[in-house]
Amino acid sequence: MVSYIIRRLLYAIPTILGVLLITFILFNLIPGDPSYDIAGKSASAETIAEIRRELGFDKPRFLDTEALSQGRIAAAFDSQFFNHFRNTLTLNFPRSLTSHEPIWDEIKSRAPASLTLAAPMFIGLIATSIAIALVVAFARGSWVDTILVFICVVGMSIPMLSYILFGQHYLAYELGWFPILGYESGMQAFKYIALPCLLGIASGLGSYVRFYRTVMLDEMRSDYVRTAFAKGLSSPRVLFKHVLKNAMIPIITTLVLSIPFLFLGSLLLERFFSIPGMGSYFLDAFNSRDFPVINAMVFTTSLLYVLGQLVTDICYALVDPRISLR
């Protein structure tokens, strides 16, 4: 087990390096230079050049070939790519270019908001959809199944934007059941995340129910479930004891692999409900080409993702003894 975990962690190294490389290349291809904005709208050409120099944008992209040809090895690696590499791997993220705020501080202050919205939403989504999927699986083939599945399909056919527009306008504004927007930390948060949470659950429910229904039907067709039914065990009991337990594997997968994306939050919901989470932070950073921030977020998310995969695999082994870890 330990050697398996270590091996999986070692596998993560090329992935992380790949993420760094791909993001660096992509961000270098994106047009836009933050120095124009920093310099101000009336700035002269010299000011812009000075700022580029201060930010290190005038350094060579990958390798300082001139320094290399002169044999100055250390100087040759003083390039944008290697600095980016070094900073990220040592978790020495520079400050944001726009707010000058240390990136970690900002992530620490925003991730909770994203999680406060995303975690209940996600748990609610999973719980509700498993519950419905169980009902549907139990009533498979009947009109209840047909109607519920049809509703789910209709639900997932409507774009999320439509849900948000409807919810904010009618439920919050017209009916006044919820605050229109806003966010407070602590217990107060529940008041504000209620509506976005419900909308998130409503829009995601369809696809989750369908997915879980398939998973559960697969399980229900398996021999041991049939045996259990044949033995005369009552249906709900079989459903919970056998079907749900075995359906946990795909459910765990979706759960764990979603965690890094919970961290990034729901862009649309955060924007419309003014929740100061990672989603809007990220979008802002992107729109101002605040590359240190984007890099830090990409790096953190991919780290979380790799860890999530590891946890999933370990969970697999714990839930299903048939899978050996070699």
Binding site: I22, S157, L268
Partner: protein, 306 residues
């Protein structure tokens, strides 16, 4: 045996492929047939728009601005007095093209990569697995945004990228991982099956085995994946339009919803309704057909049912 006898014998023995089987199964369900008809209608509309037969004059004002739906203007008019009905029809072209080409691109990347990784194993496999793990661990939204900005205004093989081509390229280039992973897993199973062994035994080349034997046997996954993917791509187009990275200069459903989200508060709901309805109807049909396809094509499920 004479030539005539041979032909007649063959004519008698008409075989039913698994595909034909699945097709027959699909057509036996009324709801699926209805959905197929809906999809066909949308495709016809899109083709009609391409041919210039439908909604060619979508950009011309037909009446005053922000007209409610009436007998005269079926779905009302928009901020420039253009017919929302025509825009909805025209949107079928954009949305279907985006979803279709994006699916095509992601299949063109995911299928060969997955098949190669699964069939060859070894370092090629490791490389491809590394590639898709890496891509997968970058948050999707970052990939989408980065690709969109990188592609915008660039030229590809001398063809300038803007508007719709950016949209489908972005969606296609960022969404092949799931399919690639799926195909790789399936090919790994198939590569050691006896029929592949047999092909190798009689000297089939590797490319012929992959193209002629393995891929046809995993193709049903592509088809199932394609139909479900189509839906998510139509939705992706809406999100991209909201982020301002969508189609410009032409009405797509995403653009219409984006327009409508502000118009809603002036009491102008028809553009939102028209686009949501169009998306909802098409996606509903696609989802039903996708489910039915999966039931019909996935041998594992079928065995379970029989």
């Amino acid at each position: 045996m004479t030539e005539a006898a041979l032909t007649s014998d063959i004519a008698v023995g008409k075989g039913r492929s698994l595909w034909a089987d699945a097709w027959r199964r699909l057509l036996s369900r009324k709801l699926v047939v209805a959905s197929l008809i809906v999809i066909a209608v949308f495709v016809m509309v899109a083709l009609g728009v391409y041919a210039g037969l439908i909604a060619r004059d979508w950009s011309e004002p037909v009446g005053p601005r922000y007209q409610r739906p009436s007998l005269e203007h079926g779905f009302g008019t928009d901020f420039l007095g253009r017919s929302v009905w025509r825009k909805t029809l025209y949107g079928a072209k954009i949305s279907l093209t985006v979803a279709f080409l994006a699916s095509l691109i992601s299949i063109c990347i995911g299928l060969p990569l997955g098949a190669i990784a699964g069939y060859f194993k070894g370092w090629i496999d490791e490389l491809i697995v590394w590639l898709f793990t890496t891509v997968n661990s970058i948050p999707y939204i970052i990939l989408i945004l980065a690709f969109a900005f990188v592609l915008q205004g660039k030229t590809l093989f001398g063809y300038p990228l803007r508007g719709i081509s950016v949209v489908y390229l972005v969606i296609g280039l960022t969404s092949w991982v799931g399919l690639c992973r799926l195909i790789r897993g399936e090919v790994l199973k198939h590569r050691d099956r006896d029929y592949v062994m047999a092909a190798r035994a009689y000297g089939c080349s590797r490319s012929r085995i992959i193209l002629g034997h393995v891929i046809p046997n995993v193709a049903h996954l592509v088809i199932i994946n394609f139909s479900l993917r189509f839906v998510s791509f139509i939705h992706a187009e809406v999100i991209l339009s909201f982020l301002g990275l969508g189609v410009k200069g032409e009405p797509s459903w995403g653009v219409m919803i984006d327009d409508a989200r502000q118009e809603l508060y002036r009491g102008c709901w028809w553009q939102l309704a028209a686009a949501t309805l169009a998306i909802g109807l098409l996606c509903l049909a696609l989802n039903i057909v996708g489910d039915a396809l999966r039931d019909a094509l996935d041998p594992k499920l079928r065995q379970g049912l029989e």
